[in-house]
């Protein structure tokens, strides 16, 4: 009995030692994982190694995997639609997302859980790119119809149909998201309603024969549905990764990996004088990212613009002075009045110059300076000479307007 108990005790001690050694081993592995999670240095290169995905927030593998599956499910019908319209990039992107997801699942069984989580996020990013790939659908459709000599009306009608198909896929995606217990962004309905309005207007304009406007409205409606889809997908990232809601969540993932050569090329469009200073700064390695360079440009630009303004003032002073003299010389009333008031043209020129210089020193606008000149000339001619009126025809007006698609949407919003 005694021997038996001694043997049992010895066995228990041995078993305890074995189990404790295993515990130490597993615990150290856990510590290693925690350490990897904590440092958040894990990154995965994408875009030909020009961008690293390095989540700058507390990321768990569970959240990342849920994100990948959620985004995949919500974008899957869109991918299928794009593939059915021969957008081969959709197939490539979906497959790439799947490869990253497989990699994430494989890594999850190893100690590299942080890397697995980042891989799952990269998979989700690729799945999300189903949204911009909706544009080739409309592009390819228009091209093929154009090549088949379809009429403008037929092409517009095709864009309207595609927009309606896209909306249907979007609504299906919303149902999928809801079924996965995801919340839908509150503004989604509003954006979709704007799309509906644009498409309804496109249809009515097409019926009325306003094909160009109908086409623009149809394109804008399509674009609006794409934006709505983008909002839905972006909201999944925000929910699953518990990110703060903001308009560009890319800042939480992406880190640019561009070299100095790229930065130098990027900023070679800066104005002469400013460019040299900035490029020297880049080449010295004192600014290494686009954002840093832009902030440096803003700092330098202030001093640089003061110097430029001196030259600009000289230019405008000369221009306004000559313009005023030319305008006055074109009026007999003004010339007589001035000859009676001033002993020489030089004296009159000096008076004009002072008004202009005072205006410039007080940062007055050109219009304000012209008004002051007009008032002055009105006074010395007892109101008989209207300088502003006489300027008409002596200054040409050129207007360059760059609009944005959004304006079309705003127009319709205002209509409502």
């Amino acid at each position: 009995m005694k021997a038996w108990l001694s043997t049992l005790a010895a066995l228990l001690i041995v078993a305890g030692l074995v189990v404790s050694l295993s515990a130490i081993s597993l615990a150290s592995k856990g510590v290693q994982d925690v350490a990897t999670n904590a440092e958040s240095e894990e990154e995965v290169d994408i875009a030909n190694n020009t961008v690293a995905v390095r989540p700058a927030f507390n990321l768990t593998f569970e959240n990342a995997l849920k994100l990948a599956y959620d985004v995949r499910n919500v974008t899957y019908p869109l991918f299928q639609w794009e593939i059915s319209h021969n957008v081969t990039a959709a197939n490539v992107t979906l497959n790439l997302g799947d490869k990253f997801l497989d990699e994430a699942l494989n890594l999850s069984n190893s100690i590299m859980t942080r890397r697995a989580a980042v891989m799952a996020v990269v998979a989700a990013i690729h799945y999300s790119h189903a949204v911009p790939l909706a544009y080739p659908v409309v592009g390819k459709t228009i091209d093929s119809l154009f090549n088949a000599n379809a009429t403008s009306g037929d092409i517009t009608s095709a864009v309207i149909n595609l927009a309606q198909e896209l909306k249907s896929i979007l609504l299906n995606a919303v149902s999928i998201a809801e079924a996965r217990n995801l919340t839908i962004p509150s503004s989604l309905n509003n954006i979709t309603a704007i799309g509906d309005k644009l498409i309804a207007n496109a249809e009515s304009n097409l019926s009325a024969g306003n094909i160009t406007l109908a086409f623009r409205l149809a394109m804008s409606g399509y674009h609006t549905y794409v934006k709505a889809y983008g909002l839905l997908v972006t909201h999944i990232f925000i929910q699953d990764l518990q990110l703060p809601a903001r308009h560009d969540i890319g800042v939480f993932f992406f880190h640019e990996k561009i070299g100095r050569e790229t930065l130098v090329k990027v900023f070679e469009k800066l104005p002469r004088g400013l460019k040299e200073t900035v490029i020297t700064k880049i080449e010295k390695g004192e600014v290494n990212e686009t954002g840093e360079v832009v902030e440096y440009v803003r700092e330098v630009a202030l001093m640089w613009s003061i110097k430029a303004k001196e030259l600009a003032n000289d230019y405008i002073k000369s221009l306004l002075e000559n313009l005023t003299l030319k305008t006055v010389n074109g009026s007999d009333i003004a010339r007589v009045a001035i000859s009676m008031k001033f002993r020489s043209e030089g004296e009159f020129r000096e008076a004009i110059r002072q008004i202009i210089l005072n205006g410039l020193s007080q940062n007055k606008t050109l219009s304000q300076i012209l008004n002051e000149l007009s008032n002055y000339l009105g006074n010395i001619t007892n109101g008989k000479f209207d300088f502003r009126m006489s300027l008409k025809g002596k200054i040409q007006h050129v207007s360059i307007e760059v609009g944005s698609q959004v304006e079309v949407e705003h127009e319709l919003e205002n209509e409502a």
Binding site: S6, D143, A312
Partner: protein, 261 residues
């Protein structure tokens, strides 16, 4: 795609004829150079406006700037490099300047948020060049490699792999919807050899610059449900409990043995 460009040009011609004075015909061409980093959300815009002939009477030029945030006008000069006095109205986002005896104007400014995020890694920008007099061209330089998609206007995209810059050239009048999406290789990045040459692609519609992979044989699964997530968290607490129980048991047995002895 090509069909509506003439239509838009026709519309633009009608608009120009009806709303812009005869003097505006002096503008022979406008080139807008946009250097923008979607990830840094900031960039530089340069307008190069050329007159048909040097202005012999003063010209009051009003230009609508491409809207953005935190806009800083760096300078406004004549084509000859003479700084011009300007007035920028941030309410209407227009810049006006008075000039004479020059063959054109250069406007340079910094701007943020020229593009809007669609989804992470994809950004869009809309531009309407319909009301710009004269010939219109836009050159966009993007640090990094992107697949560019254009609808509404013809785009030509060059991916410069040696300097990692994406260059997009757009011409004509119309409404442009341009989308940039982080460059997608056709295989996993970890196994892809880095290309060292530049590639140029002309596109009428978007998507032509996206890598094409017709040989992909991966079976695309249907809708998937996320599996029950089983994370291999080490059961350290359980093991510690077992060790403690075993050791306590051993101690009790040893005490019993000693007592009996």
């Amino acid at each position: 795609m090509r069909f509506y460009i003439p239509l838009l040009i026709l519309l633009a011609t009608i608009l120009l004829a009806s709303t812009i004075s005869v003097e505006s015909q002096q503008v022979s061409s406008t080139n807008i150079q946009i250097t923008y980093d979607p990830l840094a959300k900031s960039g530089i815009v340069v307008y190069n406006i050329y007159f048909e002939q040097p202005a012999t009477t003063p010209v009051n030029l009003t230009v609508t700037l491409i809207p953005g945030s935190n806009m800083t006008i760096l300078n406004v000069t004549s084509l000859e490099g003479v700084p011009l006095l300007y007035y920028y109205d941030n309410q209407s986002n227009t810049l006006s300047t008075l000039l004479n005896n020059t063959s054109g104007v250069v406007i340079t400014y910094l701007a943020g948020d020229l593009m809007t995020m669609l989804v992470p890694g994809s950004y869009y920008m809309t531009l309407d060049t319909t009301s710009i007099p004269g010939a219109v061209s836009i050159d966009i330089n993007i640090p990094g490699l992107y697949n560019a998609s254009c609808i509404g206007l013809k785009c030509s995209t060059t991916l410069d792999f040696s300097s990692n810059i994406t260059k997009i050239h757009v011409e004509g009048k119309g409404s442009l919807i341009m989308t940039l999406t982080l460059y997608t290789p056709s295989t996993l990045p970890v196994t892809t050899a880095t290309p060292t040459t530049s590639s140029t692609t002309s596109t009428i519609s978007l998507g032509a610059t996206t890598p094409q992979n017709t040989t992909s044989t991966t079976q695309v699964p249907g809708t998937v449900q996320s599996p029950g997530i089983q994370i291999s968290t080490p059961p350290v607490n359980l093991l510690i409990t077992i060790v403690a129980v075993l050791l306590v048991g051993a101690v009790i047995i040893l005490l019993l043995v000693r007592k009996r002895a």
